[in-house]
Subunit: 421 residues, 2 copies
């Protein structure tokens, strides 16, 4: 794409393409996604070359290793991305489902039909793979999409979008089914957030500050995703082995993701029995521990180091090998702590007590609430939704992992013979 | 309520009450709605007295007769409002429904449960009855609510809320289940629109300017409601009698509502046959007609007056006995005109041609699309949803008439035996 495309140009092109994308069949959309995946592979040399420029710029600007790793693309990663797109191409199509229906008293027949949203916009950070993920899911749900990746990944994203558009067009859909805001500058992002009438839903994918910027500035409907200050609560009857396994998995398997735990709660009177094995296992895996006075006391003399937690720790999503530990008096206090400090993402209780488990499930206000299983299961793939648009932490429209269906809406069709009211 | 309650005080009180409202049973919520309805009737003298003050102030300020009529309350109207609440009390409860469920590959059992939103906020105009409607529907769906009526109805709304709170408390729920922002001033409305963390969804109910203010300023999730620039399209094969009946009903039965039609489209070559009877019937009922050149030509010599339509007319929701008339060349042009100028509310085709009807149903982007039936059917009651929160014209979360279910969300419950990823 030689010319720089502004947010409103990209949104208008997507809007113009949206009716054609919505009108084509599920099979046509599958073919378009497959063609886009193949075009991505066919152009992998160009994409890798563009990515090399982004990587070089990132290194110059002192980008951290984990961020550089997220930015990096090679032939192998592009093959994986294309394979992910083909999985979406073979997924069930959500469009056209009859959601409900009835005959009204007047005899008019009402059908509530699942239909595409229209235009889906996504703003994300320097992760080129999100470009292909969102494009594939938007197409699966019959939408056109407007993409805006982080500036540090601009060349990679633009090269990918060029390939995706070529594939989509080869399959007979308008290239405008996938558009990219290539014009740099914050005002482009702001314009996209306020493109009412062109954009039907905006999905920010990234860190807390990006999501907050969208929530504060956007006038188009937004789905908040991803921020996860998740808790693991060890109720007094918790099985120590189960507690250790879940704590280690939920904290250390992938500490940088939103469904990893950031805080450990434990019943005060069970802390001397439960905290030493759990904290030792976490410390063994390099997890830094900070806790309140009672938690630190429970570890005394055991050779495990625990720093002093501040009030701020209870509200912090570390996304790193660090965890805060607090003692509570029973399940109700645990629920109150989680509802006050959590981000309504994924929360877990470990318990052998039936009533405590059910009370926790009912009382915790979160997208996913667990008894005796790792919070790491909160994921579109794990939940059987196929690929994932993101994990909604708001209550409107979709909550928890979102698959292609979250990018649809419904429409009422009414067929009559001249009925009036 | 002697003291003035700020938006943040009201929202906090509702938030504090929300867990108790969510936790109680469907039967308890039904009793609370019934008790609130009875309290409304028991205090009807106070409410009528408060309303008389609002009415006197309205007359002094030159409020129009239709607005005064919307503001007016007497014992009879309060009885009707209470009866509406009792209908909501006897409606099916949406909370607790298992929406989906499966066993994950790991053996963890997943259940997707319908749960209350938490805190529902509503901003509306000087229509005191909305106070009771929204309170009843919010309670039906297990939510606490924060209400803010138009300043011209302040005393009426406050008196109603005082009674509703007394009833709710008598039924054992916290009075904070229903709160009212009584402190005057626009900054209170702004505060309510930006009460993230306290308000889960905001529903503006009223005219286009109120809804636009919410869309532009709100940072909490909003459901846009109500603006309806609805069209009736007479396809060339339309039965003239059917066309007349639907046009008259959709335009004149209640011209001030959002599902009334504002624009008539007709196939150019059928205009000389279809427009004279339809326009004569509308003119007979006092409807002012404005149209394009071809529409005016089709009426020439028939004694029906039609003014000249400007470009602005195609985008105007008159909410009055006035209609714009345009000629189009076939169903595709009609669809394009509607998608460009409509507000995605309710749109109708009159036709005897099967293909034209199906094409219109598929191509028009609106909450409700009709073949041969009046747009006036777009209504929660008519659609069998019980009482209505409003009619959503956005695509996120809910589209079309919204019943109590639109005030719920879902939550995933996961039960395991120590599974990790």
């Amino acid at each position: 794409m030689a010319d720089q495309v502004s947010a409103l140009q990209a949104a208008q092109e997507a809007k113009d393409a949206s009716a054609a994308v919505a009108a084509c069949s599920a099979a046509q959309r599958s073919r378009a996604i497959e063609a886009a995946a193949s075009a991505l592979e066919a152009h992998s040399a160009d994409i890798v070359a563009a990515n090399a420029q982004d990587m070089a710029r990132g290194r110059e600007n002192g980008m951290s290793e984990p961020l550089l790793d997220r930015l990096f693309l090679d032939e192998g990663r592009i093959r994986d991305i294309a394979a992910g797109m083909r999985a979406v191409a073979s997924q069930a199509d959500p469009v056209g489902e009859v959601v409900s229906g009835r005959t009204l008293d007047s005899g008019v027949r009402l059908t509530q039909l699942r239909v595409p949203m229209g235009v889906v916009a996504a703003i994300y950070e320097a992760r080129p793979n999100v470009t292909a993920d969102i494009a594939a899911l938007a197409l699966r749900a019959g939408n056109a999409c407007v993409l805006r990746g982080g500036s540090a990944a601009a060349l990679s994203c633009e090269a990918m979008v060029e390939a995706l558009r070529e594939g989509v067009a080869a399959a007979g859909l308008p290239a405008g089914a996938v558009t990219y805001v290539s014009k740099p500058g914050r005002e482009q992002t702001s314009d996209l957030m306020r493109a009412n009438g062109l954009v039907d839903v905006l999905i920010p994918r990234g860190g807390a500050s990006l999501i907050q910027a969208c929530v504060q500035q956007a006038t188009v409907p937004v789905i908040e995703t991803g921020v996860g200050n998740c808790h693991l609560y060890l109720e007094r009857t918790a099985d120590p082995e189960c507690a250790v396994n879940i704590a280690v998995n939920a904290k250390t398997q992938r500490p940088g993701v939103c469904n990893a735990i950031e805080s450990l709660l434990v019943d005060r009177d069970a802390a001397p029995a439960l905290l030493p094995p759990v904290c030792a296992a976490l410390a063994d895996r390099g997890v830094e521990l900070v806790g309140d006075a009672d938690a630190r006391e429970a570890l005394e003399g055991g050779g495990i180091t625990m720093g002093e937690a501040t009030e701020q720790d209870w509200d912090t999503e570390y996304l790193a090998l660090k965890i805060s530990v607090a003692c509570v008096d029973g399940v109700d206090e645990a629920i109150a702590h989680i509802n006050a400090h959590g981000t309504h993402h994924s929360e877990c209780i470990v318990t052998c007590d039936y009533e405590a488990g059910e009370r926790f499930l009912a009382g915790v206000d979160a997208a996913a609430v667990y008894v005796n299983a790792s919070t790491r299961f909160t994921d579109g793939g794990m939940f059987g939704l196929g690929a994932e648009v993101g994990i909604s932490t708001q209550k409107l429209h979709a909550r928890g992992p979102m698959g292609a269906t979250a990018l649809t809406t419904t429409k009422y069709l009414l067929r009559g013979e001249g009925q009036v009211r």
